[in-house]
Symmetry: C2
Subunit: 289 residues, 2 copies
Amino acid sequence: MEILTNRDEIRAWAVENRKAGHSIGFVPTMGALHAGHLELLRTSQTQTDRTVVSIFVNPSQFGPAEDFNRYPRVIEQDKHMLRQAGCHALFYPGVAAIYPQHFQTSVTVEPLGSDLCGRERPGHFQGVATVVTILLNLVRADQAFFGLKDYQQFVIIQRLAQDLNLESKIVGVPTIREPDGLAMSSRNRYLSQEDRQRAAAIHAALAAAKSAFTAGEKRSGRLEAIARRILTEASIHRIQYISVRSATTLLPINTVHTDGVILTAVKVGETRLIDNMLLNLPDQASPSS
Amino acid sequence: MEILTNRDEIRAWAVENRKAGHSIGFVPTMGALHAGHLELLRTSQTQTDRTVVSIFVNPSQFGPAEDFNRYPRVIEQDKHMLRQAGCHALFYPGVAAIYPQHFQTSVTVEPLGSDLCGRERPGHFQGVATVVTILLNLVRADQAFFGLKDYQQFVIIQRLAQDLNLESKIVGVPTIREPDGLAMSSRNRYLSQEDRQRAAAIHAALAAAKSAFTAGEKRSGRLEAIARRILTEASIHRIQYISVRSATTLLPINTVHTDGVILTAVKVGETRLIDNMLLNLPDQASPSS
């Protein structure tokens, strides 16, 4: 596995592979890799000739009171996992490689970026949109793969890639879950044993809403109430939001007709967790297709 | 001359020309073409195989009290000029082609974009940075040509192209002037005959500062005072700014060592005019090289 650490190296890697006729897949991450990331890598490997994974804990997407400093950094373990999985290249830049002296450009997607998670985390999606634009322009992959666990992020990145005419096709990859349903996340390791057990209620709450939807309940308010009750019963009281939205625009909808998604962010102990579930009927296309 | 009016057409034109092995030059404009624009085109023609000019009066770079509605639109005349000059293609999109439904991405360069002209025109450079990013990504030219008359714009576009890793090389082209020194601008046609005569003092003021600089005066405050006096003597009293800056970063400098520029924005009658002059010694490189 090649390890690239600055802008020139990743650009050169991509140019060289394109010249050789290889299609390129790109999986941007913040490291602390888990089965969800490996699923992104596997998806890329089935659809492209050469995959590059990036590991960059992006300071500009963390708020001042957030977990940038304690965000898990386990680069040797990550490298081992990527090698085992047959990854072709790792892009592992330092902060100065991404944000050199005099850097002052930012990319904003509004109002999408100040809704839902953006309400609780002002500036977060500007940080995400900016670093993803930089990374996508460095790699110029044929396809770039993002986890649907971060559904709002996925919609924002699709939006900016289309608005700014970036080259890569943005592909969403379904969430990988623990056996009890908890979505895989690098932040799960923050949870105490007790909180870890309670956290399973997040997926259960969304699944209950989905069951009600499949059984015929289309009213957003009712679906949200069903999910909220299950969270509360599990003593998850700090619900930042639980909301049914259009799956394509993320705008609020009163009734789910064809393309709904229910999204939630909660605090379990001191750990902020997010998850979502698509509310579409089985014969409908998923956003990754 | 091919005329392209939407995103798909310009993308296809660029892909086709690249495939044919042609290098591409791009000259973005707002139309109402004059000798300054033709100089951009000529420069592009000498350095690339195929040139596309865009004409798009970008609403998002005009403030609510500004001249978007009355900005000169003379498309037939512009087409004629471009054909005469041997331009290969014109990109002439409508607003909905650039900003389709649900568009919500913007590009900001801060603090550069809120200084100088950005103080008087809040949001202006965000509009410029966004549309230029879109246009550059649509064309993916080898080189894109911008007039140095809009010097702050040039520095901002260089900055964002480097920060976001856009493909095109950003080239600055020296200002073309009327015989009395007034910088060519589509807005000059707003001037009354009397104001048109007074406006020659803008260049005279900058030239006087440059003469003083060449004669040994390096203090920014003194150079600004020399220029200001000439403007005032010509009864140009509404001086929005007159400022000596670093030519590379546009940061304020007390003394011009190697790379200065003196920039000004004034109102003559109701017309806002800008101009600038590099304060470098004859053997120093210009920003276009």
